[in-house]
């Protein structure tokens, strides 16, 4: 069986699976699942660009997804009048000036013609001073805003603009991270990116003035007509959810289709060929005069842009930005399972993996719940009593299933369901 018909067959199988799940869970649920899986698919495609094309070990996906979520919140949430008419902006401006001053200090110190230990000591001192100066301004600013306005609010623009901004912001942060970290070897890069994403998570989670932190921001505007809009036009509530989600799904599919088209073309073109050459033979590519780090930086940024867009779409879909809900398991490792099971290096594989794993991941919750209730029924009959806290426990089965899936995939299908087609180009 050639690879194309294998892929077609797998997609057919996925479609059948989705229909079956739809019959089981009902149209409102399956449309929501599909909708979320498209956002997850975008992030998985981003990881496929980074890892599949370039072999880059980004374990900090969570950071970019979170940045995307913040971006769409900031762009699309209604404008806060109290913030803009109060002293908040002035305070923030002062913090910005302090930041700029600190930056200038460090930048200036770098340029001084000093050497060795003195230079290092001076740099540490300058960083420290810059940090203290910035903190001295941002802390009162944050206090003021949190006290008077809660948080700075949004810009009240269209959510799709927020998605774009999410992509840009994530890409920008990725550029900075890539610039400093991409020289590292695979496992060091993995640990560095996970560390950086944890720092990003801590910043977003604790910067209440900017993101409301654990207080969460909601409702975040929906980019297409909402169930409420349909209901105003006399559509029955149950149907209105399907319409609204269907509309969003159509929009999301358009985004995925555009992204798919672009990255497929890039993969087949000379740029993609060069990327694969670098991935497969780093040293040879390096000695052939390819600027390896610059190329890897392009991949890293491109992947992060997709992650940012996906993260933004996810937040406008859920209509809530809750920095406390981001966990490495479902916002970093889930994507790795998707790409590895689907087939690293193959976009169709990553897409399939994303849809499939998302469904498996979400459905293993209710499935194991049903299983537990069955077992609990037996144990009660046997007189051992019922299993306590079934609902919260069965949710944990999802994590276990995810672990089993990745271990099995690595062992029995290390190239994924739809492996990368290796073309010999000489």
């Amino acid at each position: 069986m050639n690879s194309v018909s294998r892929a077609a067959l797998l997609y057919l199988g996925l479609a059948v699976f989705i229909v079956l799940v739809g019959l089981w869970q009902g149209p409102a649920n399956i449309s929501l699942l599909l909708l979320q899986s498209t956002a997850f698919a975008l992030v998985a495609l981003g990881l496929n660009v980074q890892f599949g094309y370039g072999g880059l070990f980004n374990f900090g996906i969570l950071g970019f997804v979170m940045i995307g979520g913040f971006a769409v919140t900031f762009v699309s949430y209604p404008v806060s009048k109290t913030f803009w008419t109060g002293e908040g902006p002035i305070w923030l401006l002062r913090a910005l000036v302090a930041f700029a001053a600190g930056f200038a200090l460090v930048w200036g110190a770098r340029r001084l013609p000093l050497k060795g230990g003195w230079k290092a000591a001076l740099m540490v001192l300058c960083y420290f001073i810059a940090y203290v100066v910035y903190r001295s301004q941002i802390d009162p600013a944050a206090n003021y805003i949190e006290k008077h306005d809660g948080f700075i609010g949004g810009l009240g623009l269209h959510p799709v603009l927020g998605w774009i901004f999410g992509g840009i912001l994530a890409g920008g942060v990725a550029w900075i991270i890539g610039k400093i970290a991409l020289g590292l070897r695979s496992d060091y890069l993995a640990i560095a990116t996970i560390g950086i994403s944890e720092i990003i998570r801590a910043l977003i989670k604790n910067a209440d003035w900017l993101t409301r932190g654990t207080l969460t921001v909601s409702p975040i505007p929906w980019p297409v007509p909402t169930p409420g809009d349909y209901q105003d036009h006399g559509v029955a509530p149950a149907v209105s959810f399907i319409y609204a989600r269907g509309g969003y799904l159509a929009l999301a599919l358009v985004v995925v289709a555009i992204v798919m088209f672009l990255i497929q073309r890039a993969y087949g073109g000379p740029w993609g060929r060069m990327m694969r050459a670098i991935r497969d033979n780093f040293i040879a590519a390096n000695s052939m005069g390819k600027n390896v780090t610059a190329r890897q930086l392009e991949l890293f940024v491109l992947g992060a842009v997709l992650m940012g867009i996906g993260g933004a779409m996810l937040v406008s879909m859920l209509q809530i930005f809750d920095p406390g809900s981001y966990q490495p398991i479902n916002h970093t490792f889930l994507f790795w399972v998707m790409v590895i099971v689907g087939g690293a290096g193959n976009n169709w594989g990553a897409l399939l993996g994303a849809m499939l794993i998302y469904l498996v991941y979400t459905l293993s919750g209710p499935l194991s719940q049903a299983l537990f209730y069955a077992i609990s029924g037996w144990t009660t009959q046997l007189g051992w009593g019922a299993i306590p806290d079934i609902d919260s426990r069965s949710l944990q089965m999802r994590v276990f299933v995810l672990g089993v899936v990745i271990v099995l995939a690595l062992r029995y299908a290390p190239k994924g369901l739809i492996p990368e087609v290796v073309r010999r180009e000489r």
């Binding site: 496992d187 919260s392 995810l402």
Partner: protein
């Protein structure tokens, strides 16, 4: 004097305790890296698992009304270690060994270890939910020692019995490990394999045996670290993820593969975290009378806010990786 005591209580005791735990965890992670060449992401969960084993065994003793002068967690630790070792060896046999035999690259093992993390985490939460547990909720009390400092007109220095035992256990374990690595044939073989795996094989060293030994040591130390952490604070199923990055950070700061570096890195990070969130204004308060009126000491003068405590480790980790990835103690050239 009061200020000094405050400093000892807040920084010296807390830093030593945290440092011991990081060090024990980091030794295991660094050994696994040295021998098997991959970053073992499931190490934090191994610690959590070990702690839960100790907790379960302790519960059995509490159930029969057995209470000893030392916390039960310490007494049952050897048993819990054995269980943790058994699980670690089982995981190696079923997950990692087949991949190694296939000649998989170390990064594949790294991803597999994430799978193991997810499995362990899922199982632990399946059985224990997401709540908190404490060894001291079952009739055992945490004795507190106070060193009287009234002769100096200060409050007493306080620490708990688990904290003292923890430092003792750490020192003993490190001494045993040191003797093993420098004084025994197998320990030297382990160092040899970490140094040059091909040459170790050529010398006829049984590399399979060394790999198993590595898991034994790493699992035992992970169990000890996890149990002691939960004795000091509390036992939580999601302990793992908060601890794995500081542990990697400690191992990397010390130079991956370097046992003594991992110990130093562990204490360095333990103290960095405690010093980072330490409120310096208390130390400076005695100066208030001396300073001119226009200088007011702010009530909160910590370097980073408390909610960023773990971030200190991540920042040190990232700086080390970027500035000197082989570790600040001249790590192995891997």
């Amino acid at each position: 004097m009061d200020v000094l005591v405050f400093f000892i209580n807040k920084v010296l005791v807390a830093g030593t305790v945290l440092g011991s735990i990081y060090a024990l965890g980091a030794i295991g992670a660094t050994l696994i890296f040295g021998i098997l060449r991959f970053a073992h992401f499931a190490h934090g969960d191994m610690m959590t698992m070990g702690a839960f084993f100790a907790f379960l065994i302790a519960l059995v003793f509490y159930h029969y009304g057995i209470y000893l002068p030392v916390p039960m967690g310490f007494v049952v630790m050897p048993l819990a270690m054995l269980l943790t070792i058994a699980v670690a060896l089982g995981i190696d046999k079923t997950v990692y060994a087949p991949l190694r035999r296939r000649g998989a690259r170390p990064v594949t093992l790294l991803i597999a270890s994430i799978g193991v993390t997810l499995m362990l985490q899922g199982l632990i939460r399946l059985f224990f939910g997401t709540g908190q547990y404490s060894f001291f909720d079952y009739g055992e009390t945490k004795s507190i020692f106070r060193i009287d400092m009234s002769w100096a007109g200060a409050r007493p220095i306080t620490f708990t019995q688990p904290q003292v035992l923890m430092v003792i256990v750490t020192v003993v374990l490190v001494l045993i490990l040191n003797f093993f690595l420098t004084g025994t044939r197998l320990g030297k073989a382990m160092r040899a394999m970490a140094d040059n795996a091909d040459l170790a094989q050529v010398s006829g060293i049984n590399t399979q045996l060394v790999v198993r030994l590595t898991w034994v040591i790493a699992a035992a130390l992970a169990c000890a670290a996890g149990t002691m952490l939960s004795l000091d604070v509390s036992l939580k199923p999601d302990l793992a993820f908060n601890i794995i990055l500081p542990i990697f950070a400690a191992a990397i700061v010390g130079g991956l593969g370097q046992v003594y570096g991992a110990i130093a890195g562990g204490f360095l990070l333990g103290f960095a975290e405690t010093l980072g969130v330490f409120n310096w204004s208390t130390i400076l308060r005695p100066l208030a009378g001396v300073l001119p009126d226009w200088i007011v000491i702010p009530p909160d003068l910590s370097l980073v806010p408390t909610e960023y405590k773990l971030t200190v480790s991540f920042v040190i980790l990232v700086i080390t990786l970027l500035w000197r990835p082989t570790g600040i103690f001249k790590g192995a050239s891997t």
